[in-house]
Amino acid sequence: MDDASKTAYWKANLRLIIGCLVVWFTCSFGLGILLADQLNAIKIGGYKLGFWFAQQGSIYVFLFLIFFYAACMNALDRKFNVHEG
């Protein structure tokens, strides 16, 4: 692997990480804490939405994010031909 593609691979990884962490922050700190009061005006079943994000939703989002990241990285590894056997 030459230096140029190494740099390109790393940049693509960083872009992906930043994207994922923006969602990570928005769902937990944003929807679960900062905007919880406003969101609590909306109800899904018996759950106030802000409360739901803080105690349930953010965990589901974290789960989705890790598997999404892992899948994207597998594709990236293949694209740059650095995947393991």
């Binding site: 962490l21 900062l34 409360f51």
Partner: protein, 592 residues
């Protein structure tokens, strides 16, 4: 069958299982002892990580914490799960690519500095030891409550079990017992939760039950009902925020980066065969953790409602509205014996008044002839342990909860002890003081240091230092302010070298320790605190437990500033950083 006998059988059966696994997975090399020969399937590693991570505190205390703090306890739910995103994206795959055995080893090599390695070892040992004390106590409590054996005996049995599989099998033995322990603990946690959810809402899934209507036909949602019951009795509303927003944000952040920086969790990701396994394995770990963590809010809220309804049996204020003390249920009596539940008949009417301290309610309470809250102690740990009894579940479920609590404590203790013993044998002995040691000698050294670590942990469990309850803040503070930033800069920056990282770690660590000690006393010695430990005296309302995130920020700032003026790291280190960022073999990976 008698409950006592049933509990002995269930707990005994799980112990037998752990021993059988231990004998089948004896470690033959240092690679097997430290990282299970890097041959653990990512899903199984996820399961083992779940057990490793979820301690006696997660199993026993967390639902109770939620029950009494309501929405504000969300910081623990988000904080202790969100860290896995950071692990999967920022640390685990690159550290796995590096392919060595311990966290301090990476820090020492990457920053070509033995002092950085020693700082990391000290943080690791302090954080892990403080954690182990809690697990040892948890084992003792489970034994004394459920098997009615002396606390000490329980602790010795627990130590003996850990000794067999950790000393023999190292990481290999620990991994496979942790998988078994995960199955025991998750089954023990979810079965009572399903029954209680079914009982209160008619929905068997607690995650959905918590958002459903009560099964009593009133059509009122469970959470609305809980808010109503609590505010009617002068408690604070369950579903809204009570603490400061800044402190909530910082505590969540500290727990997240602390989770990602705890060495016994990171090391688990050294055991999978490939780099891509390290990424997905973090996801599987969170799957197995989320099963418990999304159930806990349901358990907490439902247990709280059950507790309120047990005591307040009629309308608030009417003389017949409160339970007569002599009519109290048998679980109430059992827990009174342990001192975790305490009643004091302040107004001498023979009935129990349990209410909050809001100002509006105080005058009402007075007009009812109530002379203060009579439930003078309701320990939050009761919520999970007494749940099956409160919900009148069969004996085997209660026995299972005992085995689950012990499994949670044992699995976490073993992971921590391995982190401690490998830091001693691999980092201090082989890495710094006796570099010429043969592999056979190192394996022996690691077994001996494991045995010593178990001894020290047992001693501290028997004679817990007075500050045992305070030290969780310390463990997370240390991991967040020193280890996490050092690892992250080691991977994401080519400019930070030994000067930057040493200054950064000392600054982050120092500021966090000083802030914690300032409010909790120097080295937790009673009477040495510089200011009272409450929100009025905290800097900008930041509690000592939340300071880890600030310490991490200080660490990053100092390290990056120093790196601007210090010479760049040598060429081979810059190559090393480039190498760990890409999965495929650039240079052949270092083989042990």
């Amino acid at each position: 069958m008698d409950l006592q006998l049933m509990t002995y059988l269930v707990v005994g059966a799980t112990f037998a299982l752990y021993i059988v696994i231990a004998i089948k997975s004896k470690a033959a090399s240092t690679g097997e002892f430290y990282v299970a020969g890097k041959g653990v399937h990512p899903v199984l590693n996820g399961m083992a990580t779940g057990a490793d991570w979820m301690s006696a505190a997660s199993f026993i205390s967390m639902a109770g914490l939620i029950a009494f703090k309501g929405y504000d306890a969300s910081v623990y739910l988000m904080g202790w799960t969100g860290g896995y995103c950071l692990l999967a994206m920022l640390l685990a795959p690159y550290l796995r690519k590096y392919g060595k055995f311990t966290v301090p080893e990476f820090i020492g090599d990457r920053f070509y500095s033995n002092s950085a390695r020693i700082i990391a070892v000290l943080c690791l040992i302090t954080a892990s030891l403080t954690y182990v004390i809690g697990q040892m106590k948890g084992i003792g409590v489970a034994f004394s409550r459920f098997l009615e054996l002396p606390f000490e005996l329980g602790l010795f049995v627990g130590m003996a079990i850990v000794f067999v599989y950790a000393v023999l099998g190292g990481m290999k033995g620990i991994t496979y017992t942790q998988i078994a322990q995960y199955c025991v603990l998750i089954f023990a946690y979810t079965v009572p939760a399903v029954f209680i959810s079914l009982h209160l809402t008619g929905v068997p899934v607690p995650q959905i039950g918590l958002g459903s209507a009560m099964a009593d036909g009133s059509g009122v949602y469970l959470l609305d009902k809980l808010d109503m019951v609590l505010t009617d009795l002068g408690f604070k509303e369950y579903t809204i925020q009570k603490g400061s927003t800044l402190n909530m944000m910082l505590l969540t952040m500290s727990l997240m980066i602390g989770t990602a920086g705890l060495p016994h969790v990171i090391t688990r990701f050294f055991t999978v065969p490939k780099i891509r396994d390290a990424r997905s394995s973090a996801g599987w770990a969170l799957v197995f953790i989320a099963i418990l963590y999304t159930t806990a809010p349901g358990v907490g809220a439902m247990a709280r409602l059950n507790l309120m309804n047990t005591i307040q049996i009629g309308p608030v204020g009417s003389p017949e509205g409160n339970l007569k003390y002599e009519d109290r249920p048998s679980w109430f009596k059992n827990w009174e014996k342990t001192g975790l539940l305490k009643f004091e008949d302040k107004n001498g009417d023979g009935r129990i008044q349990y209410y909050g301290n809001s100002k509006e309610f105080a005058s009402k309470a007075e007009s009812f002839g109530w002379k203060g809250n009579e439930m003078v102690k309701v320990d939050r740990d009761i919520m999970v342990l007494a749940n099956p009894e409160i919900a009148k579940l069969p004996h085997w479920v209660i026995a299972l909860v005992a085995a689950g609590g012990i499994a949670a404590a044992l699995s976490t203790a073993a992971g921590l002890l391995l982190a401690i013993s490998s830091a001693i044998s691999h980092d201090l002995l082989k890495g710094i003081f006796v570099p010429g040691m043969s592999e056979k000698k190192e394996l022996l050294a690691s077994r001996i240091s494991m045995a010593c670590a178990i001894g020290v942990a047992g001693y501290l469990g028997l004679n817990p230092p007075g500050f045992a309850a305070q030290v969780v803040a310390l463990a997370f503070g240390l991991a967040a302010s020193s280890i996490f930033p050092a690892l992250m800069m080691g991977i994401f920056s080519k400019k930070v070298g030994k000067y930057g990282v040493n200054c950064g770690m000392l600054a982050g660590l120092g500021s966090t320790l000083i802030y914690i000690f300032w409010f909790k006393g120097w080295f937790f010695l009673p009477g040495t605190a510089m200011a009272p430990d409450n929100a009025a005296h905290w800097l900008m309302g930041i509690s000592p437990g939340s300071f880890g995130a600030v310490g991490a920020l200080i660490n990053f700032t100092v390290a990056l500033t120093v790196a601007q003026f210090a010479p760049d790291p040598p060429e081979h280190i810059q190559h090393l950083v480039e190498d760990i960022r890409v999965p495929g073999a650039l240079n052949p990976p270092s083989v042990h």
